[in-house]
Every structure is written in C-alpha cells, then in structure tokens.
C-alpha cells in the first residue's frame, strides 16, 4: 500500500508550519495531525514529516519515541486511558483498570497499551491526566470521564460497543444506498 496524504491534511500541516519562525518547531503538531488522520505514526509518516520540515528522520523518531502520546502501531477503535497517578490510584483507578482488562480479556499485569482481541478497545495506563479533583478519570478517545465507578465503566464499554455497532450498520446502509 502506498502512503498518501490527503490534500486537506497537507494543507493543515502547511498552516501549522507557517505559525512558527522555524519549521522544526511544528514537528509535534504535525505528528499530532498525522496520528489523528492515520491512527498511528508509521515510518512513512516519520519520513514524510522529516522531509517536510527539512529534518532527518532520526530527529522525528527521537520525538515519537519520547512522547508516550505518539504510537507507532494502530490502536483500537476506542482508546481508554486510565490515570494511574496518585489521586486516581487512591480513588481506585487500579481496580478500574483490572476490571476493564478482565472484561476485555486482557492481562492486567502486562505493562504498556494492550488492544482487545476484537480490535475495539486499547487499554492503557497513563500518568496524571490533571483532573485529580474528579478522580478516578478515564479518557475514552478524546472525551474525559470523571469519577468513574465499576458500573460506569461497564456502561461506558457497552456504549462504545453500541456506538461501534451503529457505525457498522451505518456504513453498511450507506453502501446499499439506504438512509441510516
């Protein structure tokens, strides 16, 4: 599969680069844009970014491997970030993590992000999400869920599954020319 960047993403990247006195500054923002579009940062994305900003690929790889928010493998449809730092841990985030892992058939002892077998969920323990007042917090994709309990987690997982099902049906309907 050849690697191609849609025009609108490239335009967005161009506008990002234009903000900075030195193009190199834009590298993290460009990587965010690429990850948003592709779901992960592939070697092609690294090389493209380096070319775009006049850098060497290693300069970009240095950053991709430094920042935990960048991923080099695609994640599941729903990315669950569970805060593991003190306030959330005191409020029971480890129990939530264990519960989620057990429900999704993942190993709670295994470090690093894990994706469920159906490819729907990626579960990751992350450091402080800066919402300690509403601990424990879980980020599902870009939405933050606060003061989570086991019941709410179950509800969240079901909602995600449900949402995914309608998405699939919607996609199917669109294929067949139906209104969803």
């Amino acid at each position: 599969m050849s690697w191609a960047l849609p025009k609108e993403v490239e335009e967005k990247v161009d506008s990002l680069v234009g903000r900075y006195p030195q193009p190199r500054s834009a590298v993290v923002m460009v990587l965010h844009a690429l990850q948003e579009h592709f779901g992960c940062i592939s070697p092609e994305a690294i090389e493209w970014t380096a070319r775009k900003l006049g850098l060497r690929p290693i300069n970009v790889l240095e950053l991709v491997t430094f920042y935990p928010m960048f991923r080099r493998e695609p994640f599941g449809r729903f990315h669950l970030r569970i805060c593991r730092t003190l306030s959330c841990a005191l409020a029971g985030s480890h129990q939530l993590h264990r519960h989620i892992c057990e429900r999704l058939g993942l190993n709670p002892e295994k470090p690093g992000p894990q994706t469920s077998a159906d490819g729907l969920f990626t579960v990751e323990f992350v450091e402080c999400l800066a919402s300690c007042g509403t601990a424990p917090v879980i980020m599902c994709n870009e939405t933050q869920h606060e003061q989570m309990t086991i019941e709410q987690v179950d509800k969240l997982l079901d909602e995600c599954r449900c949402k995914c099902r309608t998405e699939r049906q919607g996609g199917l309907a669109a294929e067949h020319g139906f209104e969803p």
Partner: protein, 468 residues
C-alpha cells in the same frame, strides 16, 4: 470564617457562563486590555517619561505577583531580567503543560474561561514588546486545545489579536502548541526545547537563561496560565490594590487544588496566606473534611514532588509580628497558612497549589511507589543522577510494595534519594523525584520498617535465592 476569594474563578462559577467571547465581553472581558492599551506615557519629575509598557511592568512588580507554576518566582522580577537590548525578538510562552500530579487548576481556566487567559497573555505580551507568543498546552488536553483554538479565532475576529490590535498599531499573534505527554515539558527550558521541535531536555544554566537565551536563542518569558490570568486582574485593579490581597510576601489570590481523601475535592480560589491547611481540608467551604470514620494521615502540600507533612506534625516557622519583628513559633501543620513562604519555612513547598490529602486507609509504601513510578516514567533521561536514580528508586519501592523488601533496602533507598538532588541535576526534576522519597521515608519510617520486617522474616536471602 474562611471562604473563597474569587478573582480568576469569578466568572467561571457563575451559572450559564460559557467560553464564548460574547459571554466574556458581557462579563466585562477585554476591559483590562483596553485599559492597558490606552495607557499614556507619564511624565516624571526629572523630565523623562515612563512609557505605557513600562507602567504595566511596574504595576506587576508592585503587585508582588509570584509565579503560580511551582517555583513561586517573582513575576515582575522575571520580566525585569529579560534582555531587551539584544535586538532579537522577545517571545512569551504560556506554560499550560499542567502535569504535576494533583494539579488541575489550569484546566479550569482553559476549559471554562479561555478568554481570561488570552486577555492576560495579550497584556503581558504588550508589556514586554512580544509579537509572537505560544500557549504550550499539554497533549492530553485535547478538548482544552480545541477550546483555546476557537477562543483565539474569536479574539482575532474581534480585533484583540493579529495586526494593529484595537487600532493601536500593536501586532501580536498567539498560537497553540500541543505537547504529547511529558512532565518535563513543564520545566521552562525543557518546554522551550520542546517548542523548538527537539527532545524536551532542560538546558544547562548557565548559559541558557530563558530571559536571555530562550526560544530560538532569543529572550523568552515563560509564565504559567494562572500567572498570566493574574496579570489581567493586576492591570484591572492596579498593582497596589492587588498587593493588598494576601500577605506582604504572598500577594493576591491563588487557585488551590484539593484532591485525595476529602469529601469535596476540587479547585478553590483563596486569598494567599489567609487560609490554613485545616480550613482547606476540613472547612465546608473547601475540602469538607475526610470521609466518615477516617483519620488524617498525611498531606502532600504542593504536588507530589513536595515534601510530605505527617498529620499532627509540629512545624517551626518564622513569623512577622505586628510590630515588624520576626519571631519563631511552633505550630501544628494544620494551622499553617497556605502560602509560598510559610509552607517552605515549614520544610516543604506549596508548588503548584495542589494539596493531596491522605487518610489512614493509605498504604504509604504503595503511595511512595506510585509517586516514584511516576517520576521514573517522566524522567527525560538527559542527565545521569535522575535518569538512573529515579528508576532505581521506583524498582526498589515496587519490590517493597510487593512484599519482597529487606530492612537494608530502606537505608539504600534513602542513600539513593540523597544522591540525586542538591544541584546535581540539570533541572529541578532531581529534587522533585527525591524529595517525596526522603520525606516519606523519614516521616513514615515505621510503616516502611514494619512492611519490610514482615516480609523479610519469612523470605530466604535474596542473593542466596539467585544462586539457586
């Protein structure tokens, strides 16, 4: 009766308040900016004149505003150190990389009142002749970045940003720069490196003082979100008036984030120095007390890197009496007023204003292991003591928490923690990662000793097990 004193949170707490610029303008938004831009040179007795920009800087200096990011460095002093003669452009970066565990104050401002930050930033930029500024927002604030992005668009459309702001001929652009999950980007030189598109390795000082050699080797000001919001209020009310709030060394209001084992965790705005730990934890206006049947065990006073206070601990602080004389007094830690000076006099720091309350259900070994793992994960790895020491401490603590400790581990842990701080590392991360270890081991030594004793008794010698 202690209560909140709202300045920054004034509008946020109003029902129906939204992030729109219309809403902000309805609530008196951008009036401080108009005031600042309308300032005229003031003639001095000696015939010279003080320009409007210098007037704002003086107001900030008079206000006694201390940076709200953690170090509590005087904002006016920071601005005065900027090299204005170099001929290079001056940059301002708003540090919105809120990442000290326990802190969530900037989140309130960004998510609920972004224009307040933008207004404060424009004023700060104007006062310092900045024409390009950045908001470095932590990567996890995806929604926050979106809100700020929209707010900046609105401000631009309303003529508060861009070329020729409000017809004064002043140009300024502010851009959002997102991080991607690194605590070290909260350190100002690490933040600058990150903004330059490099690994966020803090720079060595000397020679890289941001005020002289900052972003792109140009003079740079890095201010916290809350500090910049305070600038707006200082211009609004005047530096002297602002200084009347709080105590002489700790002026104004401060956002305090209370989390952990309290009934009402949250972000509260207080007049600095007028509220004690006891008020913050137990008063109904603030934390609302512990959960039922729980006893207070420990207070982490300024984010997890601060040294911990044990409940019932007596601290010695030097106070200024009414007649101006200094005297030393001993008090319960709960009676300590929450301000930079008192908390640091008591041997810790108020840092970013994050109080984490621990009750007697907390296992201190587990707490310290959690904190140490945070630091081991966040150490950037540039300089030796912190890179190796933070992970070493975390590994020992995880082993202790799992019940594989030995009595000798505690002395070792303390000795490792002693080898990291005290200016041996490039940035203050070295202090941050070892202070919790040092303070918890000393103040909760019994708990640690009990834990290792319980496990060491029934385990064979580790080295022996290795050989087998």
């Amino acid at each position: 009766m202690p209560s909140e004193r709202h300045l920054i949170l004034k509008n946020i707490r109003k029902p129906g308040y939204s992030t729109d610029i219309e809403c902000y303008l309805r609530h008196g938004g951008y009036q401080a900016l108009r005031k600042a831009l309308a300032l005229q040179p003031v003639a001095q007795p000696d015939g010279t004149a003080i320009g409007p920009k210098e007037q704002i800087r003086r107001e900030v200096e008079i206000s006694g505003l201390r940076g709200r990011g953690g170090a509590g460095f005087s904002c006016g002093m920071k601005w005065s150190l900027v090299d204005r003669k170099s001929g290079k452009p001056i940059y301002l970066v708003c540090n919105a990389d809120e990442s000290e565990p326990g802190t969530f104050k900037d989140r309130q401002i960004i998510h609920r009142d972004p224009h307040q930050l933008i207004e404060g930033m424009i004023i700060a930029c104007y006062a310092n002749d900045v024409h390009l500024a950045f908001i470095y927002i932590r990567g996890e604030f995806i929604e926050g970045a979106r809100i700020l992005e929209r707010a900046l668009e609105e401000a631009r459309a309303a003529g508060f940003l861009g070329r020729n702001i409000l017809g004064t001929g002043y140009d300024l652009d502010i851009y959002i720069h997102r991080g991607a999950g690194a605590y070290i980007c909260g350190e100002e030189t690490g933040l600058i490196e990150s903004l330059e598109g490099k690994r966020p390795y803090p720079r060595i000082k000397p020679p890289y003082f941001p005020a002289v050699l900052g972003l792109y080797q140009c003079p740079t000001i890095v201010n916290n979100v809350e500090t910049l919001c305070a600038v707006k209020h200082i211009v609004d009310m005047g530096g002297a008036e602002y200084a009347r709030l709080g105590t002489p060394d700790n002026t104004g209001t401060r956002l305090v984030c209370i989390s952990g084992h309290v009934k009402r965790p949250g972000c509260y705005e207080i007049e600095v120095g007028k509220v004690t730990f006891r008020d913050l934890i137990f008063d109904e206006a603030f934390g609302g007390g512990l959960h039922d049947a729980r006893q207070l065990k420990a207070i982490i006073p300024g984010g997890v890197s601060a040294k911990v206070f044990r409940a019932g601990e007596k601290v010695r602080v030097t106070k200024r009496a009414a007649d101006g004389k200094m005297f030393e007094t001993e008090m319960d830690v709960l009676d300590l007023p929450y301000d930079f000076t008192s908390v640091s006099a008591a041997g810790s720091m108020s840092g970013s204003g994050a109080i984490i309350v621990l009750d007697d259900s907390a296992d201190m070994v587990e707490v310290l292991a959690n904190i140490s793992e945070f630091f081991a994960h966040e150490s950037c790895g540039q300089c030796t003591p912190c890179r190796e020491g933070s992970l070493w401490m975390a590994k020992i603590l995880r082993r202790l928490a799992k019940g594989n400790g030995q009595p000798a581990d505690l002395a070792l842990l303390l000795s490792v923690a002693d080898q990291i701080p005290g200016g041996r590392t490039i940035c203050a991360f070295g202090e941050a990662c070892s202070w919790p270890v040092q303070s918890l081991l000393v103040k909760f030594g019994d708990e640690f000793r009990a834990k290792v004793q319980a496990t060491a008794d029934k385990r064979p010698d580790r080295a022996f097990a290795e050989v087998q």
